[in-house]
Subunit: 289 residues, 2 copies
């Protein structure tokens, strides 16, 4: 089955639109774009369109490719300080001469809708964040929509005496997940969340010798590398769940084999956009202005 | 071969002793113990002994088992504020009624030798921490001492066209690691570090149905569960590296098969203690008082 990302996104957007209307508040999201990256511009357009559709103001700040780190940091501080701006996103990747993490750290926690500053990540990795990073939220929404239960009971393993204590506490709930890539936006965050949900996670990076050996056994594949056709049919188990954040999957062939799969268009993209706006509403709902 | 943890610890302690003597500064480490846990008392004693041996003052603060979260938080704030205390550790686990992470968060970053507050973990997970969590540092020291090279060149995989871009950048350096447990002190932190070093990491938790299927293939096993004889001979590959933080390994039998293994006594324990003191010296060396 092909995952209908647009349908899930619509549902999220309707929910937050309603929440917004009830609160009677007007929100603004600021997006920062450095350089002339056409793909990033397209992403910003999609976010802008979704935001405006539900009555959220969207403002784009553009800076030249060769801006210095110091200059950009100062600009980001200014943007973050605007009281009528409730969320700030920096479109990634930034040009290579910039220190991405130090710039992400300028965004105060209460406006960090992408959950990418050091502080926000500290909260996320200690399981104390009230919002989830958009890729994680998107995955969670897909699991909910298609009732993929990482926590489903499964008798196997309960008899294993080594895990007796654990097994008594909760039913065995293992699903194996192969995560491709360990980047800032997807792999690192998704891995942590999946482990905490009870999945058995293997992380495959560019250094992994035999990725197919791991992925072929996995109940689900989550990918965030950004390399076309990295994941081919022979690397996927019959019936597996395939969630492709990086456009890494040979969709035409893998879709014949997967039990559930995100398409390259109308897949995770719209859900991630909706998740960003959901985070904006969540974060601002605990603020005064 | 059996890993000589005491030897590695001695080396670290000698280095920091020298560094301390050069600086002419006197340092103090504070340890917080809640309740009457004999095992934790023993750990504190080991830290105290190692600290005093190299001229670091060690102070233990003990609180009753039934102390409230608020009361303990206030006490921790007081302890952390003492200017002549350069590092604070909270012995874990705390009694179940306490909110461990919120209490760990009282320790300011510049005194957080265990790298466990939300802020310190944010730094660690964004690869911006100047010190490593003690378990990670211990593992790193073992790898250095025994020349276990996660970065070793390996021709395999370089020809794989899917990884061509990556492969050109660096030689293939994959080692597979099975990490048992995803706890606060070991699994979560160790997994992140290993992935960043180029290892292919699989995380096994209490929900994993067939841990042996993963661990039997792994070049190294890192364990931090705290469950005796969880890891038995049939779960380990011939020649594997086995690092046991949780006393989880059936040492008698596994040691016959492993290429390199930490013993239950004189293994990781002394190295972790030395790593805590190393962190104290590192953190305080960038401070004025």
């Amino acid at each position: 089955m092909i995952i209908d990302g647009r349908k899930i996104a619509r549902k999220i957007l309707e929910e937050i639109k309603e929440k917004l209307q009830k609160s009677g508040r007007s929100l603004r999201l600021a997006a920062v774009l450095v350089g002339e990256n056409q793909e990033l511009k397209k992403f910003i357009e999609l976010k802008k369109k979704a935001a405006e559709k539900i009555g959220i103001e969207f403002r784009t700040y553009e800076f030249p490719e060769d801006i210095t780190n110091n200059k950009l940091r100062r600009e980001l501080n200014k943007i973050s300080k605007v009281k009528t701006t409730h969320g700030v996103i920096i479109e990634l990747p930034l040009p290579e001469h910039l220190n991405t993490q130090s710039l992400l750290n300028t965004i105060p926690e209460e406006k960090d809708v992408d959950v990418l500053s050091e502080k926000s990540q500290g909260k996320f990795f200690t399981n104390r964040s009230k919002i989830l990073p958009p890729a994680v939220e998107a995955m969670k929404q897909i699991f909910e929509e298609y009732k993929i239960d990482l926590k489903g009971p499964d008798a196997k393993g309960i008899e294993d005496p080594r895990f007796a204590n654990y097994a008594l506490r909760r039913a065995n709930r293992d699903k194996t997940a192969a995560v491709f890539g360990y980047g800032l936006l997807v792999g690192k965050l998704v891995s942590h969340w999946l482990v905490n949900q009870g999945a058995t996670v293997s992380i495959i990076t560019e250094y992994t010798k035999e990725p197919e050996k791991i992925s072929r056994e996995a109940d689900m594949i989550i990918s965030g590398v950004g390399k076309s056709n990295l994941i081919t049919e022979n690397m996927v188990k019959e019936g597996a769940v395939v969630i492709d954040f990086g456009r890494d999957v040979d969709f035409k062939n893998v879709s014949k084999k997967a039990g559930l799969i995100t398409p390259p268009v109308g897949g995770v993209g719209p859900i991630v956009v909706a998740a960003v706006l959901k985070n904006l509403v969540e974060l601002s709902s605990s603020r005064k202005y």
